[in-house]
């Protein structure tokens, strides 16, 4: 009996802790409901202010919902470490490019460390890494460790910069993690404007100031480039949606989509923009241009009198005069002249003096302000600028200008990033999921509870009580450890209900057998618990192991399932064995049970 007192206290403590842990979730729900019940906004605001602390506390400790239930974005981004490595290399030749191509292909197929892939490819070709990287005297090992440090640094910097941008944009509780050597996992809940978030995350904001070449040079360059075919000679242009739709445009030579205006400006119609942009990146096109120059398109289209849109082409010096690294401050605003959105920027000391020198030396010439490879504006330098101020105009909207401000301030990413996985769940689907999930839990619970009572009579009631405690424990552990509840997690709870009674079924069947052998009720119960224990342990260990592996190897939502399954299974060891046994002992003492109680 003394033993049972201890067990009773234990059960009471577990139950109390569970309720205590779930309580904020209930309060959060009740308070939110109350807030929404007021007729006027003033009333609800007053209530919110009066109960501010309570509301915040409840919300803070309540059960968190996963992205699929709440709505939001789950992104996996890849930092193009290879691009970074390529930039680090010198002496690049045919051989190097060929090796890089195969490295890129292999890197695209897995999450393996790029530096390792690179080293392996070089070793296969029997070429020393130091031929292209760092000092010629470095051993392969030294080069690898330097490149690895560089790659690791780039990933961490990319993570910080992205966190900066998200924080400035303002998303509640963002999750940003690194995965492996080059991936970032980003979870943003309750995002409404995904396109904007994507722009913020992907924006490399590579700002460059480049000298624009003379008009005659531009015309000559366009003439030479015009003879090239629009489609890449060997492999077709990479299929993305924009090009796929523009791909129907039948044009053979570049000259067919590039025109010259009477004033000497060179343009391409809007429908051909993507094709031309892709063509201008090709090596065979760039080879036709003068040394250290490139052709760039304008960022925003211009419009003719009759509404046709076109983009301008610029021939600029490839080596930038100055880059965005010198920018210290950025501010989105409207221009004083035509109230168009623009971004004002100021530079650090080094940038300021360089900028003064550059502008001073190029009075009367055009300097292009290039952002991510597109020309935003190309103003003619009127005078030397000593203040270190510059401005980006030609921006579509104030929103875009604000995003640009955020990105410029947060700094540019060390290497380009790509989205390789995206899952966006709208809020209405999330509430559907919640409804479906609750419905399943209710029906699953009802079905199991009724079945146990029909099949096992009073003993079934004990198992049902244990089941209630089990579910309480699962939810309270989730809430207590701030683990998010997902739809698969709810499925895990429903499944756990079916499996949690397994231990009780094992015990009860055993007790029935012992009773059939003619043992007394008390002896049968004791024997049932003792003899069934080994099977229960084995079955729980195997289920736990499977769930654990799922947690380790699974991703995202599936982990939610694994977590609830693990908690539920572990909890059922306690609820199905300890709780029901105590209940039976109490029933026996108070003569509430007889031989018929096990059905």
């Amino acid at each position: 009996m003394k033993n049972n007192t201890f067990k009773l206290i234990l059960i009471a403590v577990v139950a109390l802790v569970s309720v205590w842990s779930i309580w904020p979730t209930y309060r959060d729900y009740a308070l939110t409901k109350k807030l929404n019940s007021f007729d006027s906004r003033a009333d609800s605001l007053k209530f919110a202010l009066d109960h501010r602390e309570e509301i915040e506390q409840a919300h803070d400790k309540s059960l968190k919902l996963g992205l699929d239930l709440k709505g939001g974005m789950h992104l996996v981004m890849e930092v193009d470490i290879l691009d970074l490595i390529e930039q680090k290399a010198w002496n690049k030749d045919e051989n190097f490019n060929r090796i890089m191509d195969s490295v890129r292909q292999r890197a695209g197929e897995s999450n393996e460390n790029v530096v390792n892939i690179l080293a392996a490819e070089f070793r296969k070709k029997n070429i020393k890494l130091s031929r292209y990287f760092y000092d010629v005297r470095d051993s392969d090992q030294e080069v690898i460790s330097k490149l690895n440090a560089e790659a690791q640094d780039a990933l961490i910097r990319a993570k910080e910069i992205i966190r900066n941008r998200i924080d400035q944009y303002g998303v509640a509780e963002p999750v940003i993690q690194t995965q492996g050597s080059r991936r970032l996992i980003i979870e943003l809940s309750g995002v409404t404007d995904e396109a904007r978030v994507r722009r913020l995350l992907m924006g490399t904001a590579k700002l460059e100031f480049k000298l624009v070449k003379e008009p005659q040079q531009l015309l000559r360059a366009v003439e030479r480039v015009g003879t090239v075919s629009l489609q890449a000679p060997s492999r077709p242009a990479q299929a993305d949606s924009a090009q796929a739709s523009a791909g129907e445009v039948v044009a053979k030579k570049l000259s067919e989509v590039i025109g010259v205006m009477p004033n000497g400006q060179v343009f391409t119609p809007a429908y051909a923009h993507d094709l031309v942009a892709a063509a201008l990146k090709r090596d065979d096109v760039n080879a036709l241009l003068p040394q250290d120059t490139q052709l760039l398109l304008s960022a925003k289209p211009e419009q003719t009198a009759n509404g046709e849109k076109y983009y301008l082409l610029y021939l600029v010096q490839k080596t930038p005069e100055l880059t965005g690294g010198v920018i210290t401050e950025a501010k989105a605003t409207f221009s004083s002249q035509d109230s168009q959105p623009e971004v004002l920027m100021s530079m650090n000391d080094e940038g300021t003096s360089k900028w003064a020198r550059i502008t001073g030396a190029n009075i009367g010439k055009q300097i292009a302000i290039v952002l991510d490879g597109a020309v935003y504006s190309a103003p003619v330098v009127q005078s030397r600028i000593p203040s270190g101020n510059s401005v980006i105009n030609g921006i579509g909207s104030l929103e875009e200008a604000k995003d640009l401000e955020i990105i410029l301030k947060a700094g540019s990413l060390p290497a380009p990033v790509r989205i390789i996985e995206e899952r966006t769940i709208g809020p209405s689907l999330g509430s559907d999921y919640i409804r479906d999930g609750l419905l399943s839990v209710t029906w699953g619970f009802t079905a199991v509870v009724i079945f146990m009572i029909i099949y096992y009579n009073k003993a079934g009631i004990a198992a049902d009580l244990a089941l209630v405690l089990n579910i309480l424990i699962v939810i309270s552990v989730l809430a207590g450890f701030s683990a998010a509840l997902t739809l698969p997690g709810i499925a895990g709870i429903v499944l756990t209900m079916g499996m949690a009674v397994d231990a009780n079924v094992l015990i009860y069947e055993r007790i029935r057998e012992e009773l059939a052998d003619g043992k007394s009720l008390k002896m049968a119960i004791d024997a049932g618990y003792n003899k069934a224990f080994s099977s229960i342990l084995d079955s729980h260990v195997t289920t736990l192991a499977a769930a654990f592996l799922l947690y380790v190897y699974g991703v995202g939502p599936v982990q939610g399932f694994a977590v609830t399954l693990m908690i539920g299974t572990a909890a059922s060891l306690f609820t199905a064995i300890v709780v029901t046994k105590v209940l039976f002992d109490m029933f026996l003492d108070s003569k509430l049970m007889n031989d018929k109680s096990f059905g």
Partner: protein, 308 residues
């Protein structure tokens, strides 16, 4: 209430029939796996999926032709049972273009029936192949872990037979997914991450059932002559039959609830679990124990079991 009270079924006597039955079913599944293959979801294949919901039910054919007109290459299918449709295309890094393409073309061509984009998922090929590897690793690790654990608790014959039973169960479900994949709009039976979750749970569940039977055999076999083994195996199976069926029953009950109530995202998982539990229950009686028995008869030496 009692089912199977004092059942006395000669399981061991009919084990050859069960072997043939299982082998035939698995072979059919394997043939289907080679011929039809599996209907992989985007988790493992890569690609983009967009779920849209219309205000009133929309004709799939109409939407399909609108999508083709808009340049969205891929398939359009009913999603679940309500007014939702699922559009599948190749992987798109920039889903906002895809999104605006879909919503614009629908807004202009079906103005009377507004559509809402419920979710967008895009998985790149490198992630997809990664997930496939992780799934295989998880399954392999689960099988090895179970093999080791059961070997320690019983002996290698029992463990190996248990793992054979798991293979049996997973292959059967996989075969069923291959045979029925893509046939019903109500449940497309795509193999994705949630199915791997189902397989691992099935593996855990199958060995649970098997272990309960083993446990009973171990308890009864101590000090018995090998000539009595067939009787003991039979009696053990009969004694645990009620428990085996009842727990499978309660779990299947909850899985059925998931199948019908938890929505289309869980349906494939629920289907896999349901068939998996069904087959797992069958295999613990007709596959695992008989294999131990036959193996034992060939080995000649009496069973020496560890543990309690």
């Amino acid at each position: 209430m009692r089912l199977f009270q004092k059942s006395n079924i000669n399981f061991m006597g009919h084990r050859k029939i069960a072997y043939v039955f299982s082998t035939v079913l698995i072979l059919v599944g394997l043939v289907s796996l080679f011929v039809r293959g599996l209907n992989y979801g985007i988790d493992f294949k890569g690609g983009s999926e967009v779920v849209i919901r219309f205000e009133q039910s929309a004709d799939v054919g109409t939407v399909r032709s609108i999508m083709r007109g808009a340049g969205v290459k891929g398939s359009v299918k009913q999603y679940g049972m309500d007014r939702s449709l699922l559009i599948k295309t190749d992987f798109q890094g920039d889903t906002s273009t895809l999104k605006s393409l879909i919503s614009n073309s629908l807004a202009t061509q079906l103005p009377s029936n507004p559509a809402e984009i419920l979710s967008i998922q895009a998985v790149g090929p490198s992630i997809a192949s990664d997930m496939k590897m992780s799934a295989l690793k998880a399954l392999a690790a689960a099988l090895i872990g179970i093999l080791l654990y059961v070997s320690i608790r019983f002996e290698i014959k029992f463990a190996a037979a248990g793992v054979v039973a798991i293979f049996h169960d997973v292959l059967m479900v996989l075969g069923l997914f291959s045979l029925l994949g893509g046939i019903f709009d109500y449940m497309p039976l795509e193999v994705d991450q949630s199915i791997i979750a189902a397989f691992l749970t099935i593996a855990g569940y199958s060995i649970t059932d098997t272990v309960v039977v083993y446990d009973r055999i171990r308890e009864r076999i101590r000090g018995q002559k090998p000539s009595d083994y067939e009787r003991i195996f039979n009696e053990s199976l009969n004694q645990t039959l009620s428990r085996t069926v009842i727990t499978s029953g309660t779990t299947m009950l909850t899985v059925l609830v998931l199948f019908f109530f938890a929505g289309p995202a869980i349906r494939g998982f629920a289907f896999a679990m349901f068939t998996g539990i069904l087959v797992g229950t069958y295999s613990s009686i007709f596959v695992a124990a008989p294999i131990v028995f036959d193996w034992q008869r060939r080995a000649k030496n009496p069973i020496k079991l560890k543990g309690a």
